[in-house]
């Protein structure tokens, strides 16, 4: 089976800092894979290079066999890649429904009109915002903004979803809801790259994990096993106890 996401020898420098150094990994269709690592290890930078937000300094990114390495973000989106942002970024002059309509209108199938409105409501209902479309995003609680972030990503009808700490900052019951939601997507066959610090979520969702430290992949494999490797524990604890 061909890979849904294939990253080969990705590099990124910020001035003198090597943020991503020779990172390679592959996601099969339908897989939910964790991308872990201490703060500043380069996870978001990898996502930015996949989604086209940042140009890479070297390496290749393929999605469903298509080379998207040099593509602008809007073309990557139309190629079937959607993302959420580590810090939620709702569009404040747009209503809740319009935030979602945007992705429907400019995503892969370019929906508009009545059909798009119905689909937007469907996406909102899926994330738990049924009937809230007319509200202003400024009035949403934090978890609802996270939900909206997800609905907007799903509305471009992606095959690959990049979630950058989408579960961070939720209380335990909200976390449960969030995990259920991602599991639901998994059931629908979505491929997900999940950047996450919450181990409970990683264990529940990811069959496989990739661990980064200081810009490099230091471990990769089945979640339960990888999280017990000394190198991984050291990377995390070293970050806390240095």
């Amino acid at each position: 089976m061909s890979a849904q996401l294939e990253i080969a020898n990705l590099h990124k420098r910020f001035g003198g800092l090597v943020a991503v150094n020779d990172v390679s990994f592959t996601l099969r269709p339908g897989e939910v894979v964790g991308l872990l690592g201490p703060n500043g290890s380069g996870k978001t930078t990898v996502m930015n290079m996949i989604s086209g937000a940042l140009p890479s300094d070297g390496g290749r990114v393929r999605v469903g066999g298509v080379d998207i390495t040099r593509m602008k973000p809007h073309r990557v989106a139309r190629q079937g890649v959607a993302r959420t942002f580590q810090l939620v970024r709702p569009l404040p002059t747009l209503s809740v429904a319009e935030n979602v309509l945007l992705s429907l209108a400019f995503g892969r199938r370019r929906h508009w009109g009545r059909e798009a409105r119905d689909l937007a409501e469907e996406k909102l209902a899926f994330v738990g915002l049924a009937g809230r479309g007319e509200e202003q995003v400024g009035n949403l609680t934090y978890i609802d903004q996270k939900r909206l972030e997800m609905a907007r990503a799903l509305a471009s009808e992606p095959e690959l979803l990049l979630l950058d700490e989408w579960l961070a900052g939720l209380n335990p019951s909200e976390l449960r809801i969030g995990i259920d939601l991602v599991q639901h997507l998994q059931g629908q066959g979505m491929t997900v790259l999940l950047v996450e610090h919450i181990m409970e979520a990683v264990r529940a969702l990811c069959s496989r994990c990739i661990v980064m430290s200081a810009g490099e992949v230091i471990a990769e494999g089945e979640s339960g096993e990888v999280l017990q490797r000394p190198a991984v524990i050291k990377a995390y604890l070293g970050d806390d106890h240095a």
Binding site: P73, H74, L102, F106, W112
Partner: protein
């Protein structure tokens, strides 16, 4: 209000406005003419700058190019063709300017567009002095005030119609998204550069046409008349006063401010620019989203 009702009302208003010159003194036709010109300028300006929040001071660059094109070509070809040429030149200039500046953000864009207007004025002056050996040109077109007014009125109606159509289209949604957060818009699939360029060009073309249609009014044209930066500032203030994010906002701002400016420029010609500046500051601080938004807040009983 239902769309149909709004259309009927707008059409009725248009008919009344079109018939007005037949019943009012020429002086008032002149006032209506100037007012319609600014309504069009402000609406066209807001089409791009409202949702994207790219504050452009290039208005007079396009306005002046339109007027100058008519001054240069009015004896060389039939009038409709002259207008077409003006639109084409405005469009081409907007493409070049858009491609080179729409990457600039915030205040850099403001400064660049202001500089652009000056640059165009200097270039035209230089060209006239050194290449064509003329300074100032005459426009000989058999138009009275009301003929110019009717053309402007038609252009204003078309501009409002375009603005309305964009507001309901996916293009309008994308523009608002771009104004909020370009990165998010791009990741949702919006080709941000293309959309900004497209709107900038549409807006600039209309502005060019306003200048072209108004040209016969001056009879005598020179760069300092048609490239007067006050036009850019007045357009901006009008759009901001009414609310640049709303279809009727620029119109609501342009009508009273035009009358006020008329009165001020006659009564206090020496202090006009100072008053303009003060008004600008007042509007930005008291009603950053415009009168219409303010009224809506009051009606909702909300605090501003």
């Amino acid at each position: 209000m239902k769309v149909q009702t709004a259309f009927v009302l707008a059409a009725a208003a248009l008919v009344v406005l079109a018939l007005a010159p037949l019943f009012i003194p020429d002086y008032w036709t002149g006032v209506l003419l100037g007012m319609t010109g600014y309504v069009t300028l402000a609406t066209a300006w807001a089409m791009f700058s409202g949702p994207t929040r790219y504050v452009s001071l290039a208005t007079v660059a396009f306005f002046g190019v339109g007027a100058y094109t008519v001054a240069v070509l009015n004896e060389a070809m039939p009038y409709p063709l002259v207008l077409l040429c003006a639109a084409g030149i405005g469009m081409a200039l907007a493409l070049v300017v858009g491609l080179s500046t729409l990457r600039l953000a915030g205040v850099y864009f403001v400064i660049f567009t202001f500089g652009l207007a000056e640059l165009v004025r200097q270039l035209v002056s230089w060209w006239e002095v050194n290449v064509t050996y003329t300074m100032g040109r005459y426009v000989f077109l058999p138009f009275e005030g009301r003929h110019i007014y009717w053309q402007l009125l038609a252009l204003a109606a078309v501009t409002l119609l375009i603005s309305w159509a964009i507001g309901r289209s996916r293009l309008g949604l994308a523009l608002k998204a771009v104004g909020d957060d370009e990165t998010v818009a791009a990741h949702a699939g919006v080709d941000v550069t293309r959309i900004k360029l497209l709107l900038f060009v549409i807006s600039a073309t209309i502005i060019t046409l306003v200048g072209a249609i108004q040209a016969p009014r001056w009879t005598y044209i020179e760069p300092s008349i048609v490239f007067n930066p006050t036009v850019s500032f007045m357009t901006l203030i009008m759009a901001l006063l009414g609310g640049a994010m709303r279809l009727w906002g620029p119109l609501v701002g342009a009508v009273p401010l035009f009358l006020l400016f008329e009165w001020l420029s006659v009564s206090f010609p020496d202090h006009f620019s100072i008053i303009l500046g003060l008004l600008f500051i007042l509007i930005v601080f008291v009603m950053p989203n415009g009168v219409l938004a303010r009224l809506e807040d009051l009606r909702k009983g909300g605090r501003a």
